[in-house]
Amino acid sequence: MADLSDIQSVEHDVVVIGAGGAGLRAAIECGLQGLNTGLVCKSLLGKAHTVMAEGGCAAALGNVAPQDNWKVHFRDTMRGGKFLNDWRMAELHAKQAPDRVRELEEWGAVFDRTPSGLISQRNFGGHRYPRLAHVGDRTGLEMIRTLQDKLVYLQHVAVHMECTALELLLDDGAIAGVLAYWRETGRLFLLKTKAVILATGGGGRAWRFTSNSWEYTGDGFALAYEAGAELINMEFTQFHPTGMVWPPSVRGILVTEGVRGDGGVLKNSAGDRFMFSYIPEKFAAETADTVEEADRWLADSSKNRRPPELLTRDVVARAITREVVEGRGSPHGGVFLDIASRRDPEFIKRKLPSMYHQFKELAGVDITKEPMEVGPTLHYFMGGIRVDADTQMSRVPGLFAAGECSGGMHGANRLGGNSLSDLLVFGQLAGVGARQYISGLGKQPRIDMAQVERAVQRATAPLNRAEGINPYVVTEHLQHVMDRYVNIVRQRDELETALVELEKLKQEVAQVKAPGASQYNPGWHEAIALGSLLITAESVTRAALIREESRGGHSRVDFPGESDEWVKVSVVARKGVDGQMEVRTEPRPQPPADLAQIAHATLEELEGSGATAAREKGASA
């Protein structure tokens, strides 16, 4: 790569990388604030991962259960996250989610309705009340389309699609630009900017069985890490309990939790509802312990306790794994998820149309007649780029992050539905944060052309090598290592083996060769993504090795159970001065007294005023 003056370039105030829910919401905020905004995404606009979200978006609107309020949502989120959540983020999220959802309605989103014409809300694991605003089981599509249709009319926003960010450029440690490349032409693209908002989503592609799309190679983690930001809580990877297990080519594709929220139950090969044997002590008081009570809950969720199928995802995923390991699994290595015997076909088709469709088309199973076969699938990253709770800025000046690629909000385990709301809340806040940063910026940052040149060389090396390894094969190796050694249940020697294997993989990655030209070449893209996948995999493995306890999405067979000492620390990864990954623990600040009190309060205390209001409402209606 010789002539850098040949690179196409553009200037923006702010560049948002990623056009899922978080990136779109951030870009809208920037656009509304009059910033000259560039939005960069790897796929076409409107195709990001968010489009796949099914179940809904959590917000304490109180439309179905008037007792609900932000405090109960906050408490559920902290308990679901095993108290490792960033307290301030969880607070902001619970408080602001309702406004963000109502705003979507104003922008044209059409959620399912309650009988009185308001946004309807459904039950989900770990949420005390029906709380998820939804549209059948295609809530993500509704959200992304609404945001996309809002964004395209904004004056100041330019969308650069099928454009992949390769490296963040710095001026004296602060953001100055982004180097990217266009898929269509294979040409490089330089974006000069004062601030960058990362909204690149997670890194599930480091595992073979995942609900995630090809885009989920952890690029945001890698971009931020290389620029000097920290990654927090990376050991907490969420395995969703219900992915498809059959046929092999669809293994991992998600089966929404909405199936259980709407009455579906889990059974083993003996036909037992095994979840009754896995109720953790902490949730015992709020979980039904007989089939009879669990069944009554379906008819009346206010008087009965929740079925154990709706315990948090980490609990259910581990239970399924155990059933399978102990020989009580389904024919293809999962368990049964049955809604056919619980709800009539019309209900199922109306509430879960895309699940009906998905099983019918891909597995030849009619879910209104037969049970589904399901098992755990890598789904979500609780960990991610460490940011300030109020501004979303990382420790790199001008570098912001929002959505799945940022960390802290969900602690050790995310509740279903809390991601879509997280995207909206923190996407918006990141936009505000970026504007504040830019208005306080003295000088225009400068691009260091030497850095650009190095980045260009790194990116084009796989094309220019005469010989080398097939990148697809290396990706498979990596996935194999993570599947085998860094899965749902972990232990020291396996994690150590993983690190040895990852070191070997670094050598392989340095030798990958992408045959063909640079124009729309998926092999080249795969080769580039490998760098991000490796950083993602290494940070998860190292963090998992350090945390010697089992909590939420991180389980250690050699350290079972939660430890009171480990809840006091975060695990933080960053690039050391020697270029090696440095991972260490860091004490967490004391929680603010008012928030701690809410998180540990009884439900009665939190519902007090709302419950009274609900009764009054009921009386006057």
Partner: protein
């Protein structure tokens, strides 16, 4: 395990050809899996778009044995058991490379259509809509923008009238705005004038290929055409309308000069 011949179009805007690949097929595979297997083992630079692999994102549209389909939702066992399987890019839009086409025209059409204009909230700060009032547009909102309907619509595909007609996908988008209970703008004159509703002659080919099962013609295009006729061609209907319900909607904002 059986082996099948895949005849895949390889090339770019300057031209191309079909190339044959022999691929082992496992149980339950969809066409996209096979394309990925070719990519991983025989042609690493084979260009294809995909994201969700579950029929939700509308990225993987192509023509399989001549029929516009989502490749991630086309199971191998639904295709003829004998002979080669052809896979080629959708025809209405220009090829970029291999199975990938340039669909930018569609994004430009959306920007031409005036955006959603909500009425003010109720005094209590809410919007109230009954489920039965939104059922109709919820159907349109299922659209995953796969553009398969745009691919088969003969007005676009064969007559190439991309400068006259926005195509079925955007007729749905217009119907969604027009029938949205909260929307305040009047788009009917524009439906005819700017978006070419008159070009559609209701052949229903679009409805047949829609992977979301949206009744594009019956539920979106025909009702829009009826509203146009009502307003512009039927003097009696127009007068009755004037007397009965004064137009309460505001005219749509001016078009984006894109």
């Amino acid at each position: 395990m059986t082996t099948r011949t895949f005849r895949v179009w390889r090339g770019d805007k300057s031209g191309g050809e079909f190339r044959d690949y022999e691929v082992p097929i496992d149980e339950g595979m969809v066409v996209l899996d096979v394309v990925h297997r070719i990519q991983a083992t025989q042609a690493p630079d084979l260009a294809v778009r995909w994201n969700c692999k579950a029929g939700k994102c509308g990225s993987c549209s192509c023509e399989i044995n001549g029929k516009p389909r989502l490749s991630c939702m086309t199971r191998m066992d639904t295709l003829p058991a004998e002979g080669p399987i052809t896979v080629q890019p959708i025809k209405t839009f220009p090829v970029i490379r291999d199975l990938v086409t340039d669909v930018a025209w569609n994004y430009r059409q959306k920007r031409r259509i005036p955006g959603f204009r909500p009425r003010p909230r109720n005094p209590d700060g809410t919007y109230r809509m009954q489920q039965e009032d939104v059922d109709r547009i919820q159907e349109f909102r299922k659209c995953i923008e796969c553009y398969l309907c745009q691919d088969v619509c003969h007005v676009l595909r064969d007559q190439g009238k991309l400068d006259k007609f926005v195509g079925p996908r955007f007729m749905i988008y217009l119907a969604n705005q027009e029938m949205h209970p909260l929307d305040n703008a009047d788009r009917i004159p524009a439906v005819r004038r700017d978006f070419g509703s008159g070009y559609c002659n209701i052949t229903k080919c679009c409805t047949e290929v829609c992977p979301e099962g949206i009744h594009i013609t019956d539920n979106a295009i025909i009702p829009l055409k009826e509203r146009v006729v009502d307003r512009f061609y039927d003097p009696i209907a127009a007068i009755v309308r004037l007397v009965r319900d004064k137009p309460t909607k505001e005219p749509a904002p001016a078009l984006d000069p894109d």
